[in-house]
Symmetry: C2
Subunit: 350 residues, 2 copies
């Protein structure tokens, strides 16, 4: 048996794999594959409708917020957000907490000005800055709620009167949050929501339509809202996998249910790492991510032993991101407690 | 048994469904689903590499042309093309042959000027204009090689010194063409290439980098070339389905092999429609698409008989596009001759 700790694309519930596999052969007893059904058929319309309504339900969204499932991943949103929200002569406030935030800032600068309100670059992004001030005249405030690569997570939603925009790619639906406080949320699907190739966007209608530039249709959130995420052929299969994953999440007690499990998983693993000599978590304690546990093993012989043991015992995806090195164990929603116990035992037994 | 004539997403070879379904459970005996493997692993890198090299091989591309597999569909390319190729004060030449071309023109106008060199709008896009002149000072010439909705296909590549750009979403790899004559080709995957959510772009390197505007990273073809279509997490599963479909195509004798079959399929169906009283193909004979056969049944009783018989005999997707009505039978690469014979018999026996 494999234990998959990939950072994304990452493990999904076993029943999702089984149902998705079946749908590729024969979708809902139609005798057709999910890959060959028209997206304008009632058959797929029902998939899209349920995916959107389940997202609404699980996030407890109010009627000002619209759920979209779009092509691409968060990297597309890095530029689509400022393209829709920021004019050339305007300034957006960004928090700089890691590789992904830095990329988002770079793309925003294509469309307008960016003020970096705070950064943790001084310590290799190993903590979340606190006590910063957000300029009141910025157009919006953007942050990354969980830094997949560096292993930090921001548990407090910042207090500001500005429209809040967040990249939640790697911790969406993993813990309770007042999602209605956000003007715009985006998240690539391939971690907690479903399969790569789809992207969730939640947007409050009133922030749209305020920039002067002309938008291509596919970049205009308003057009996607009107078209119910069907402005063009959607990534059909990826969205179906999202639906299956969201249904599974609901059965786990929704977000509160999975949060309880995610806490227990992260607590166990950090406890193991803290107590095992030679293993060094790299992140400030209060900012440790529950989704991505990042650590180093400075001693080369122990490091090799760990790598070999992982290989031997079917532990997949423990290598750190190519940009930071070390190790990373990702504990997304679908990672079972059983897998966390297995790797904790492995560490203890080394 | 179902006969699927969907216009897209559309039928794929049975063996593709079977292998794709298996990969969702257990990809290449790794014990992991294709949905949970990291895109930066050698495992997925080999999928991407083979997909790109097979495309190169099947299209006989020279070394100036680069193959990209991107997120989104052709609708994204409608704006990404002019964003990369057309400055505000420049003009591009477009041929207006249907709904999709019209959408492409609209998006190009967000970025620069457009001259429509010819249009078949006067007769509901039921033919392909000929004998038009393309202004020599335009930046590029854009056309749609097959009009999915209207059922026309352009069998001649226009003669021009301008860089040629074509939307080949619905006839790519269905017939031999000198693909090297094009500066840029794009095609949504969900018809002849694979599954919805991926998009093929073939681009000649030297036409890039000539506009003044700043491009977001995800919109810059040059960055995708450098990153080998892995600038961000790609639509993993959709690309894998493309790979399986391309492998199947190669086994059919590649493009020449499938073209022979596609000709025979289209010939049989048009012959059936032409000889059967009450069925009226809507397109000028010389411009009839081999991919999308569009026709009307003016007599209401006969129309109903046809619809009922299709329903009864498992013929799926014969309804015309919502914008034009009537009927459309799509005959993409993976539609078997058996299915064409079945619907021809159905028509003859009505």
């Amino acid at each position: 048996m494999k234990h998959n700790f990939n950072a994304g694309p990452s493990v999904l519930p076993k029943e999702v794999f089984e149902e998705a596999s079946q749908a590729v052969l024969n979708f809902r007893d139609t005798g057709l594959s999910i890959l060959e059904i028209g997206h304008r058929t009632p058959l797929f319309q029902s998939v899209m409708d349920e995916t959107i309504s389940l997202t609404n339900e699980l996030m407890h969204l109010d009627s000002d917020h619209f759920v979209l499932f779009l092509h691409g991943g968060a990297t597309t949103q890095f530029f689509q957000v400022p393209m829709n929200l920021l004019d050339e002569n305007e300034t957006a406030a960004y928090l700089d907490c890691g590789v992904w935030g830095t990329k988002a800032i770079k793309e925003a600068r294509v469309f307008g000005e960016v003020t970096i309100v705070a950064s943790s670059k001084d310590k290799n992004y190993s903590y979340i800055p606190k006590g910063y001030r957000i300029a009141a005249d910025a157009k919006f405030f953007h942050y990354t709620s969980n830094n997949t690569i560096e292993g930090t997570e921001m548990f407090e939603i910042p207090i500001t009167n500005l429209p809040l925009v967040a990249d939640m790619s790697s911790d969406i639906l993993s813990r309770e949050m007042d999602f209605n406080r956000f003007a715009l949320i985006y998240a690539g699907a391939q971690k907690n929501i479903g399969a790569a190739g789809a992207n969730l966007v939640v947007v409050r209608r009133d922030i749209l339509g305020k920039v002067n530039r002309r938008l291509p249709g596919m970049m205009d959130y308003r057009q996607h809202i009107e078209a119910g995420s069907m402005l063009n052929t959607p990534p059909v299969f990826s969205i179906y996998v999202c639906l299956l994953t969201l249904r599974w999440l609901k059965k786990q007690g929704g977000v509160p249910g999975i949060e309880k499990l995610n806490k227990a998983k992260a607590d166990l693993l950090y406890k193991t790492l803290d107590s095992r000599e030679g293993f060094e978590p790299t992140v400030a304690r209060e900012d440790r991510s529950r989704m991505n546990v990042v650590f180093r093993i400075p001693e080369a012989r122990l490091e090799k032993k760990f790598i070999d043991a992982c290989e031997e015992q079917g532990m997949v995806g423990v290598k750190g991101h190519r940009s930071v090195g070390g190790f990373r164990i990702s504990l997304y929603n679908a990672v079972a407690m059983e897998s966390v116990k297995a790797i904790s035992s492995l560490i203890n037994d080394l």
